[in-house]
């Protein structure tokens, strides 16, 4: 039984008990923002059959190889296979076709095709006024995107690397986040700021930053982190359609992840977490690339007899305390695995939020595994130790469950 949040009166048919998606009539562009689409939540918890099936589809290492993907999607399901950056591009293209006010601006997004090929081909299709190559001037082109959004356009601002957005921090914090409030609701800023971040393969300290923590206290913005091609496309579309400013965090190492996604149009909810693997013993909260490290650790843990529940929180601001809370009430133990910095990171906020709200349900203190508070070193061995590795996750779960 798939859980569906119905929208309007469109006749919705639930095909089979094991399908977790619905077939939508294909949409043409709509003038208004009426919610006549379906937001599908993978509420695997409600359907015991969905659990193992989902686990079978799991991509357990960061960069999937062709063989894995082929094996995982062997039973022929409708849908098409693509890589994560292609999924982002598909979402972007669909939204640009649907709404003429959507435009993309960033460095090398146009003629070059995007530094990670997310916008490849769009400039030829939509022209220079909708896919805009900017000079290297983050502060001003972010400001320009926000100014354009004040009038009703929906720009997508791409930071070539999230670290570069620090140059635009004033615009993001003061103008993007606050204008809706300080104008008493007169202006909305439907802007999407996206770009890759996270620790890559020896990219050096300034190009391997985990900046989610810096943006999380800005009032008025929403932050989401995508981790699979499915949720990348869904979150991209949701972010574009949202009337609030959304920062979409992608990860450099996840761009080549391959997955089969549905042909039909779907949108993921911006504020909801994703249940990756339901379980009983411990709740592991994670997002972005660490999800794969966690799933790798989960394989080991299952062999050792533990049953971890893995939730990809996806929404970094606001936290989906509902899903998380239900999980905490079930398992009573929480482990947070993240790539963000230890001090003042997403994990730190999440720990505080869970403790405040669900303290009575916890049997053990919350354990938070985050990256070390150091600039990412270049040397491969040192870089590996900077982020959380599956072995550390296994150890942490074992300690937690004693």
């Amino acid at each position: 039984m798939a859980t569906v949040f119905g929208a309007t009166s469109a006749a919705i048919s639930v095909s089979s008990s094991s399908s977790r998606k619905l077939h939508l009539p294909s949409r043409r562009s709509l003038p208004g923002r009426k919610a006549s689409f379906l937001v599908v939540r993978s509420d695997a918890g409600a359907n015991p059959n969905a659990g193992p099936r989902r686990a079978g589809q799991l991509i357990t290492n960061a960069v999937a190889t062709k063989a894995d993907a082929a094996a995982a999607s062997a039973p022929s399901k409708p849908g098409h296979e693509l890589l994560l950056f292609e999924a982002l591009r598909e979402g972007l293209e669909e939204e640009m076709a649907r709404d003429p006010t959507v435009c993309v601006m960033g460095e090398d997004v146009g003629h070059y095709g995007g530094s990670y090929k997310v916008t490849k081909g769009l400039a030829d299709k939509y022209g220079d006024l909708r896919v805009l190559d900017t000079p290297i001037a983050e502060n001003s082109f972010t400001g320009m995107g926000i100014g354009a959004a004040m009038t009703g356009l929906r720009p997508i601002i791409e930071g070539m690397n999230m670290g570069f957005l620090l140059l635009a921090f004033n615009q993001i914090s003061n103008n993007c986040g606050m204008l809706h409030y300080t104008s008493g609701g007169q202006f909305k800023i439907p802007v999407v700021i996206r770009g890759p971040g996270g620790v890559g393969r020896q990219l050096g300290a300034e190009h391997s930053q985990r900046l989610e923590s810096y943006f999380q206290s800005i009032p008025g913005i929403q932050m989401v982190a995508c981790s699979t091609p499915y949720n990348a496309k869904g979150l991209m579309k949701a972010a574009i359609r949202s009337d609030n400013p959304v920062i979409l965090f992608e990860h450099v190492l996840l761009y080549n992840l391959k997955e089969r996604i549905p042909d039909e149009e779907y949108v993921c909810s911006l504020e909801e977490a994703e249940m990756v693997r339901p379980g009983e013993h411990v709740t592991i909260l994670t997002y972005s690339r660490m999800r794969y490290h966690v799933m790798q650790a989960a394989k080991t843990l299952v062999n050792k007899g533990y049953d971890p529940e893995v939730i990809d929180i996806r929404s970094l601001k606001p936290f989906d305390l509902h899903t998380i809370g239900n999980s905490v009430k079930k398992t009573h133990r929480v482990l947070i695995v993240e790539e963000c910095m230890r001090t003042g990171g997403i994990g730190a906020s999440l720990t505080a939020a869970i403790t405040e709200n669900f303290h009575d349900y916890l049997d053990a203190p919350i354990v938070c595994l985050s990256s070390q508070d150091v600039p990412t070193p270049y040397a491969a061995t040192l870089e590996e130790v900077t982020v959380v590795q599956p072995a550390q996750i296994v150890t942490a779960v074992e300690e937690l469950c004693q």
Binding site: L129, S140, M144, G147, T151, H180, T182, G184, P190, G325
Partner: protein, 396 residues
Amino acid sequence: MALSRLSSSASGSNLLKPLTSALSLRRSFSAAADDSTPITIETSLPFTSHVCDVPSRTVETSPKELMKFFRDMALMRRMEIAADSLYKSKLIRGFCHLYDGQEAVAIGMEAAITKKDCIITAYRDHCTFLGRGGTLLQVFSELMGRQGGCSKGKGGSMHFYKKDSGFYGGHGIVGAQVPLGCGLAFAQKYSKDETVTFALYGDGAANQGQLFEALNISALWDLPAILVCENNHYGMGTAEWRAAKSPAYYKRGDYVPGLKVDGMDVFAVKQACKFAKEHALKNGPIILEMDTYRYHGHSMSDPGSTYRTRDEISGVRQERDPIERIRKLIFAHDIATEKELKDIEKEMRKEVDEAIAQAKESPMPDPSELFTNVYVKGYGVESYGPDRKEVRAVLP
């Protein structure tokens, strides 16, 4: 009809009496307010330009327009002085930046454009807001933090906005509004509106890097952006020659044309803005430097006399005050008597006092307003702030 060439110099102007005609030249105020007969005057100074043509010094106006300018400027002046005393009686708190002395820029710009054109400025925005169609009640309510304010009391002095007439604020961090303004211009070009954006900043903010970045992008993409430097010669306490190696702000665009305008002469401002609008729609960005002056300090906490002499302030008030200039023009063309103008000023004072009284009665915002407008309730999802409690998201 009565045409006169007026070349106004500093104080004693050799006013040429209008050529007599059989018609009576002494009109009453009420008639003058509707009289649209054209009068030709010259701006106080010629324009200086950088990489572009100079607009003509000769401006056409009418008694109706002259009276309107006088009335509007007197209202703005009165409003700012009233804000001064409200601040001193602690009804307005925080920062309050007053615009008196610079009214000609706001009025002249309004006269040259429509409400579909956009204006964006920094924090010295009370008069610009009024010029864009805001009411006195909205101004004073917002200044005192009441519900009736234009931003529901949540913005304050530095955050006035009026979306329906194209006034985009109202920004506390100077310099940041210029890329926003270029973004507005981008949206105008995108939607093919044939409108322009005026992005105002001061001589202090003119040294911000994001200005040059935004100018570069606007010139590359041919955006209808007009950058207006309101040069009142002091960036808070720092004189312009101490902050900028090259205080010729209109030249700083390098490849972007610029125009230097006497910002205390409302007709010069109007002419320059008209010229700039035509230019921007055809050729892309242009910079206007308005040479203006503020009588008050930078804000209410700045006496304004530690970095400049009182003589300088009173000198400018005597020689270049924009309202005095209009008054002399009105007398020179016999459009109204001194008593009539004084009556207008009294009327403006009364309007301001009434608005203040009404604003004082407006209630403070409800505590629940703390959490409204943080997010847009779009996309059908209820958002309660970063820590959503156990209520599930409600989709439509």
